[in-house]
């Protein structure tokens, strides 16, 4: 086993264990902590796939942005004095069966598909290429996504107001 393989298994184990903590813990703060480490693990997976820019983006946006937003959501919507920090579950047995079925189908499809084997080069820095592509091939999606972000943020600020009419 090479160092790459060892790193992959370590990061994958961290990611899956944190995701399991997020899913199976009843305490909503533990859910958030599990999600934090799952995001870190996914960033590590991106690094292993040679996607350096996306790994940094993952850390900045998910860990620094979305997770903080979710924690604000937790703190603004829970009553800390009571036992409301616990989050209940519904329909656990049928849901587990459905998810196990979905997992079985996905894994079977992954194993049965004859993926082409390509020779991999060493990972190269991607930031320059991504910047060039944003200003050339992907200019229209880039502009649309920036307008979408503006609209979403204005809309979120409007909906979140106390007396939204």
């Amino acid at each position: 086993m090479s160092g790459f393989d060892v790193m992959f298994y370590l990061i994958a184990a961290l990611t899956l264990a944190s995701a399991a903590l997020m899913v199976f813990s009843k305490n909503i703060i533990y859910n958030a902590v599990g999600l934090l480490f799952a995001f870190f693990g996914v960033a590590g997976i991106y690094v292993m796939l040679g996607a350096d820019f996306i790994a940094a983006t993952q850390l900045l946006i998910y860990v620094g942005g979305i997770l903080v937003l979710l924690l604000f959501g937790v703190m603004l919507s829970q009553r800390f004095s009571g036992t409301e920090m616990r989050t209940g579950t519904l329909q656990v047995l049928p849901a587990t069966l459905v998810c196990a079925g979905v997992a079985a189908i996905l894994l079977r499809m992954i194993w049965q598909t004859p993926w082409p084997k390509a020779e991999l080069g060493a990972p190269a820095p991607t930031t320059k290429t991504i910047g060039t592509l944003f200003m050339t091939d992907y200019l229209i999606p880039f502009e649309i996504v920036s307008v979408l972000l503006l609209a979403a943020l204005v809309g979120a600020a409007f909906i979140g107001r106390r007396d939204a009419r």
């Binding site: 937790v74 989050t87 992954i110 979403a152 909906i159």
Partner: protein
Amino acid sequence: MQVGLTHFLVLGAMLFCLGLLAVITKRNAVTVLMGAELIINAANINFIAFARYLDKDIDGQMFGIFVIVVAAAGAAVALAIVLNIYQRMRSVNLDEADSLLG
């Protein structure tokens, strides 16, 4: 067995199923949102694994960036809706928000 495309796809599939389980079973709306973020991350792992192993170009990574941006926009709007529900009903349990149920 050497780590290859299959390993990353299996990891993505398992993350997806964990996220799906959270979305289906949790009562708290914020936790359901956390599960949705997990699903989005699983899909993104697949995009970037395919970009590394099947494609000589970097288009899969571009898709990954757009996915992250749209997920951020979605999370902001969804949390605003959750806070509004809390202000009206003093609860974010999804099974109690049934005003539209006939």
